[in-house]
Amino acid sequence: MNVLNRIKSPLASAEVKVYAAISGVVVLLMMVFGLVMRMTQGQMLPIEPGLFYQLMTAHGIGMVAIAGLGGSAVMWHFLGKYVNLRAGFAWANLAFFLAGVVLVLGGIFVGGFAAAWTFLYPLPANGMGMWGRHAAAAYMGGVLLVGVGMLLFYLEAARAIIQQYGSFAKSLGWHFLKSGQDAPPATVIASSVVTIINILAILVGAVILSMMLINLYVPEIAIHPLLAKNLIFLFGHVFINSTIYMAVIAVYEILPQYTGRTWKVYKPFVWAWSATCLMVLTVYPHHLLMDFAQPLWMHIMGQIISYTSSLPVLALTLTATLGMIYRSNIKWDLTSALLVLSIFGWSAGVIPAVIDGTIAVNQVMHNTLWVPGHFHLYLLLGCMAMILAFINWLSNQEKAQGFSALDKAMLWTFAISAFTYALIFLMSGQASVPRRMAVHLPQWVWYSQAASLFAAGVVLSSMVIVVRALAGIIKPVKPA
């Protein structure tokens, strides 16, 4: 079975373009929500706390979902070069996704649901008059629908990978560890890891969402709050982590085309990804370090795996990226610059993340703005930069372009704004400013005001990048 003859049209298929376009638009909207939240905390906008928390819920779930969709676009596009994916499943996923989004947004903005995107049990059932149980059900049902679509998507990926490579053992490259022969491409390894962990995460998510839906209508059937929290964070942590693992495929695939060097798969790379597969499923207890009732071994495991899970893949990707561009005569344009920036953002974000995974630090940092600080580094400056690069790459017919002055200006605006924005979060966390509060104490307000300035920079530069890229994507491809 020759891999080469499976390669379809070299340019992105319709479903990838639609995914990319929707991701671009929704990201902008969610960024605006973020800006509005920071301006409200900076007392620059007269938004009521009720609306603030609705926006916060929408921003959280919207960004998670859209990072998932954008990452899926990257994975679908490049995985499709190695295995035979059927477009019907991408469309089915999109249909479930959109139906779910309608329900989620309805629950939030019509029903008033505002229990944060983590829907921590039993808050959805305790709206205190802000929302009713139907609103909570719409939200959780919507998330469930998105999960069903994603399950279909990953089942198709699993099917295609297994059909091509025989089993996940092969597509993860375990035979390569023994024989040193026949390594699967980096894209296939990353896709296999994401497929495995996300199928598991979605099933766990389905379990806890169903239980909470039942509890909503039959309150006598109670759930143990600590168990519920474990399941929610297992689901949420794995899902959000895998968005980066999907999006990073863009770096593996696109950057080599700019440098003329290949992204070689070597044994540590295979080791690191396989280890990640296991560790990402067991690292979530670092979110529960302040739940003292949790068994001690889980706390200790949470701290240790926090250190071991993030570092290997990152260290390898980081050095490989730097090695790829060093003295390579790389052609710089918006795409390649964003991709390199994204690896910086991802790496930079891991540092405060791992530090916060230390129990002693978590004791004074948990649920402060330190937390959004670290994840905005690797989601905004990392994952989003990857997705923006991918969208831009698609719009340029997947070729390197010139680096216009406007491109340069937008790149630097985005890089500096996003970086500073995240640093202000970290700085506020260092000053013990809590996260998820509509109103801050007077001495904390200036942080939000400064952050709003840089948030505006992020919104502005992303808007220019996305709008220009969308124009390129929508434009019909000229026959060569």
Binding site: I214, Y217, V218
Partner: protein
């Protein structure tokens, strides 16, 4: 296409079946169904023979109407080690509350034993003493064995023997109007709240 059509039919059938079993997704257990059913139908208490803790014999229906009070009924057996104790202390609490608020003339508590073989009036009397029940507020009674079935059925109580020689039964408070109609069934810990409602309603 045919598969799609068939699948849609299957899903619709499934949803219909689940919906009818759960009364439109409102309930999942027969306990909830029983409560909803009683609240909707409001059946009248059966006119069965009851013997109270002092040996007096009554007809249940007549007795309720003669009393002309709201009745809070629970079902117990005196050998009970678990649930009935919770019920017992809840009733003690309610008894205090009723006396404090001076509601003796409007509300009466009634514990009915579903183990008439064992719970003779003498046994019930001891049990009442043990719980410091005030006869003005709180009565105990057991039906004649032959009438047990119909009584349990009306109140929707299911009793099953367990391995240790006792019984497991669903525990709840049943609210009976002075007219003898069953109004509603609530959790055994919800008595106070309902007293509040009763006070507010006048």
């Amino acid at each position: 296409m045919k598969t799609l059509l068939a699948s849609v039919i299957v899903v619709l059938l499934g949803v219909w079946a689940v919906a009818s079993m759960s009364e439109g997704f409102e309930l999942l257990t027969s306990e909830q169904a029983r409560r909803l059913d009683i609240q909707r139908r409001q059946p009248v208490v059966p006119n069965v023979r009851l013997t109270d803790q002092s040996g007096g014999a009554h007809r249940f229906g007549d007795w309720v109407q003669a009393q002309n009070k709201f009745l809070i009924v629970d079902f117990i057996y005196t050998n009970c080690q678990s649930l009935c104790r919770a019920l017992g202390s809840e009733f003690q609490q309610l008894q205090r509350n009723i006396v404090e608020r001076g509601l003796q003339n409007r509300v009466h508590l009634l514990s009915i034993s579903f183990d008439p073989e064992h719970d003779s009036y003498a046994v019930l009397g001891q049990y009442a003493n043990h719980l410091q029940a005030n006869p003005e507020v709180w009565s105990f009674a057991a039906p004649a064995s032959a009438d047990l079935e119909i009584l349990l059925q009306t109140f929707g109580v299911t009793v099953i023997p367990d391995q240790t020689g006792g019984f497991q039964h669903n525990a709840a408070l049943v609210w009976v109007a002075p007219s003898g109609k069953l109004l509603r069934v609530t959790d055994y810990a919800s008595g106070e709240q309902l007293l509040d409602e009763l006070v507010k309603s006048n």
